[in-house]
């Protein structure tokens, strides 16, 4: 069973190695999940993603900023049940503007340079998620929480 430094390493590796996360938003009691490209800040306290404004997730986020994301390193083999790790992320998302939008965009494109035209398009919103906690699942069912110190 891992201790805090080891869990932090697992989270850091997951966020660095994975390009995509499942983002869950909500509207009127209905959960809604979508696959997004993301990039995490080096201090693991925030992450950023991009979405065009006409999307369902954008509309949901305007109503409720509470989000959950799932990042995992599964490879779709039997061994995943023992070997894969997953982090459920809890946090609050907000759209960035001005200078913060520029720095968030830089973080995002640093990881996903091939998404430049998408992310820089005028109708694309750049969101930043303030992370409250990671729930780390490893070895199939071992679950530990890492709560961000504020």
């Amino acid at each position: 069973m891992e201790d805090a430094p080891a869990l932090e390493r697992i989270v850091r590796e997951l966020l660095a190695s994975q390009r995509l996360a499942v983002l869950s938003t909500e509207t009127r009691g209905m959960p809604y999940s979508s696959l997004i490209a993301f990039a995490a800040a080096p201090d693991l306290r925030t992450l950023v993603f991009a979405t065009p404004r006409p999307t369902r997730k954008f509309s949901n986020l305007s109503e409720n900023a509470q989000v959950s994301l799932l990042v995992d390193n599964r490879s779709n083999r039997e061994e995943d049940f023992a070997e894969a790790a997953a982090a459920t992320i809890l946090g609050t998302a907000r759209e960035t503007t001005g200078e913060e939008r520029e720095s968030s965009l830089a973080l995002f494109l640093g990881k996903h340079p091939y998404l430049s035209s998408f992310a820089r398009s005028p109708e694309c919103a750049i969101f930043r998620v303030e992370i409250e906690a990671y729930y780390v699942v490893s070895r199939f069912q071992s679950v530990s929480e890492l709560h961000v110190r504020r």
């Binding site: 069973m1 201790d3 805090a4 430094p5 869990l7 932090e8 201090d43 693991l44 306290r45 083999r77 039997e78 061994e79 995943d80 049940f81 023992a82 070997e83 990671y134 729930y135 070895r139 199939f140 069912q141 071992s142 679950v143 530990s144 929480e145 890492l146 709560h147 961000v148 110190r149």
Partner: protein
């Protein structure tokens, strides 16, 4: 790719397909050595079997429950048994079954064969891992052969192999094993030859026994030993043992039998024959280009090679390597029977006498110097018995494992630990003690006035007091601190707590245990049935004695603790700092099983600069079925047990039989030490209480008062949201 190959066609194949043993023998065969007729079930057959059964993922999950470094050898054994049972319960894919069955029938019919492991990694030139996987002798008929092939497959994941998993580079997806099905040579005499002696490079060693080699290899039969000069090829010395036994084919498998008198007077091989065996090793050495360790036998006066492998040593231990000790825990049936007789007849009574002698010493009456001497004596006694415990008592646990494997092979139960239900109800000391406690609790339950009186005055009526006195006289030592006034108070408070809830009788399995026993034994007939009865009997004794020996050791340890307590009381009475080396409170650590690492280890780091950790779901082993939810009671010292309230979840580092008196009160048991056959799990199952073992850092990660859900079916402990 081929799933079955005659040995005379295997010489040119890859080691990865046929394994080391097959390849070496096949090459010797082509060079003209006399080898038994054989078929190789290849690693391709293993792969097809494992893939069709979906076993990769199941093995990975079994081995991935926790970090391998965190697994104790008991947990490794448990994992290996679960994997083996999984293989036993997995059917052969239909086409593979047909192909193998027909191939085996056409070559061997119903004639007896040996089914031997032939792992690609086992006999490398640089390292030998002989004996990590299984082999079976005297197996008859294609159906039985296929059952045993499956068991050899499973032994790729045996407890022994798992200990060396790093060196063997074992991975569920990457590893495979082949099996050599070899005609049984009707061997009158057999043995092993080391082309180069492990102790002198100029010498060779020939070991020989009457009957089959199995007795020599597992250490049950002591061999004649011939030392030869490598240069001259002549005998330097001959050591003749007392020859009493030999291993011979039974109705199925092998049996150890008494050696006829005519044979016990003679060495199995003459001096000329020993030289011939040595020459065989030299020829094999010349053929392979390195010194060989050869298993051989004489059948009808013809010398056969059964297997040949390069002489290598196990990779050098790094100093802290206990693995050879673990390997030594595997004992043969005969060996275990002797051990049982010695423990029951000599060691436990001697321990009891020592404890009684200590109990008769009037500590307060001793002068300071005498008390110091008494403490030294008791320390020496504890050290001595801890050594015996490690060397003799712990190996006895293998009797239970031997039976477990035998039971699972015969029954292939869904629950790999079903066999433990046949072992309970043996009148363990700890259950007797608990029955006395129950009796007292029952009196309090039936008589509320008596309960009020005990709660108020710390004393009951004369009848209650005389029964309590009996409990303290016979079992007082077992409570660790119960010799003291605080201990008595603690027990009374525990009894009052027990009286507030309905009685839980232990051993409810006793009734259906009889039916289970009949069902199990009905699978055998004749001699095989006798063996099953004897093995069950041995396992039941091992199960009981392994609990009792801890109770006895607990008495010696608490006798030491009492003497130390006396000394520290005297010191504090004189206003000095306590002189006790252990301190006034006996900690759980000193009561621990010496085979387990002390205490709960150091607490894990639960925070970093950016994060605070909180564990939500902890995974261990399902050691007692059932589900319970309730507040945690973390127990670090024996005295903490007296605070246990009915229905609380008992959380501790390692339950020792001296602590199990509190278990009937607990809603569930959670412990750090892992295993299915450890004391906490045994007692929890006797009372039908859910139990999860092997939770790393349990006493650090869980706090008293945390609301826990304990799933004893899956081995999971979940903490409720704060």
């Amino acid at each position: 790719m081929k799933v079955l190959l005659p040995i005379d066609r295997a010489a040119g194949e890859e080691r990865a397909l046929v394994g080391g043993k097959t390849l070496a023998l096949a090459r010797l065969g082509t060079a003209g050595f006399s080898i038994p007729r054989a078929l190789c079930v290849t690693t391709e057959a293993y792969r097809r079997f494992v893939e069709s059964g979906g076993l990769h993922g199941a093995i990975a999950r079994e081995l991935g429950r926790k970090r391998f470094e965190d697994m104790r050898w008991e947990e490794i054994w448990d994992a290996a048994l679960r994997i083996r049972t999984l293989f036993d319960r997995t059917a052969w894919p239909v086409t593979l079954d047909q192909e193998l069955r027909e191939g085996i029938r056409s070559v061997f019919g119903d004639r007896p064969v040996a089914v031997r492991s032939s792992a690609p990694g086992e006999d490398g030139v640089t390292a030998s891992f002989a004996g990590l996987h299984e082999s079976f002798l005297n197996v008859k008929g294609p159906a039985a052969v296929l059952d045993h092939v499956r068991r050899v497959f499973a032994s790729l994941w045996s407890d022994r192999a798992l200990l060396y998993r790093k060196e063997l580079r074992l991975t569920p997806a990457g590893s495979a094993i082949a099996v050599l099905v070899q005609e049984m040579v009707p061997a009158e005499r057999s043995g092993v030859v080391f082309g180069v002696s492990p102790s002198d490079p100029d010498q060779a060693v020939v070991e020989a026994v009457w009957g089959l080699n199995e007795g020599l290899v597992d250490g049950t039969v002591e061999p004649d030993r011939w030392i030869l000069s490598r240069g001259a090829g002549t005998v330097i010395s001959h050591h003749a043992p007392v020859r009493e036994k030999r291993v011979v084919p039974g109705p199925a498998g092998t049996v150890l039998s008494n050696l006829p008198q005519a044979l016990s007077a003679r060495s199995p091989v003459s001096e000329e024959e020993a030289c011939a065996v040595f020459r065989l090793a030299l020829e094999a050495e010349a053929f392979f280009g390195s010194p060989q360790d050869v298993e051989w036998c004489f059948g009808k006066e013809v010398l056969h090679v059964l297997q040949s492998r390069p002489i290598t040593t196990r990779p050098a231990p790094d100093g802290s390597d206990d693995r050879s000790w673990y390997l030594g825990l595997k004992r043969s049936f005969a060996n275990l029977k002797n051990l049982r007789a010695r423990i029951e007849g000599e060691l436990l009574p001697a321990m009891g006498r020592e404890a009684e002698a200590q109990a008769s010493v009037d500590l307060p009456a001793l002068a300071d110097g005498e008390l110091a001497e008494e403490i030294r004596r008791r320390e020496a006694a504890v050290r001595k018995w801890e050594g015996i415990y490690r060397d003799e008592f712990i190996p006895l646990a293998h009797g239970v494992r031997l039976f477990g494997q035998f039971y699972n092979d015969a029954v292939a139960p869904e629950d790999p630990f079903e066999f433990t239900r046949l072992l309970s109800g043996t009148g363990m000391l700890s259950i007797e003690r608990n029955a006395l406690l129950d009796d007292l609790a029952q009196r309090l339950r039936a008589d509320r006035l008596l309960a009020e009186r005990v709660a108020r005055d710390g004393k009951g009526d004369p009848d209650f007091e005389s029964r309590a006195a009996r409990l303290f006289r016979d079992y007082g030592d077992f409570f660790g601190s119960a010799g003291s006034e605080a201990g008595r108070k603690g027990i009374l408070s525990l009894l009052l707590e027990m009286s507030r809830r309905p009685a839980v009788p232990p051993g409810e399995s006793a009734g259906n245990g009889a039916a289970m026993r009949d069902r199990f034994l009905s699978r055998f007939g004749g001699e095989a049935r006798d063996f099953a009865v004897e093995l069950l009997d041995l396992a039941r004794d091992c199960y009981r004695l392994r609990d009792d020996d801890n109770i006895c050791l607990g008495r010696l340890r608490s006798a030491l603790a009492r003497a130390v307590e006396e000394q520290s009381q005297r010191a504090s009475g004189r206003g000095r700092d306590g002189a006790g080396r252990i301190g006034s409170g006996v900690t759980i650590e000193t009561l621990n099983d010496p085979s387990s690492p002390p205490g709960g280890g150091s607490p894990p780091v639960m925070e970093s600069a950016s994060f605070l950790q909180r564990d939500r779901q902890l995974v261990g082993h399902p050691a007692g079925p059932g589900f319970a939810r309730g507040p945690a009671r973390v127990v670090r010292e024996t005295a903490d047990l007296f605070d246990l309230r009915a229905g609380e979840i008992l959380v501790c580092d390692a339950v020792d039989p001296n602590m199990t008196f509190a278990i009937p009160l607990a809603g569930a048991v959670v412990e750090r030490r892992g295993g299915m056959l450890i004391h906490g799990a045994i007692i929890a199952r006797e009372y039908g209480i859910p139990c999860v073992t092997g939770i790393p850092d349990a006493v650090h990660r869980i706090r008293t008062g945390d609301i826990l859900s304990v799933d004893g079916y899956l081995g999971i402990v979940t903490r409720a949201e704060a």
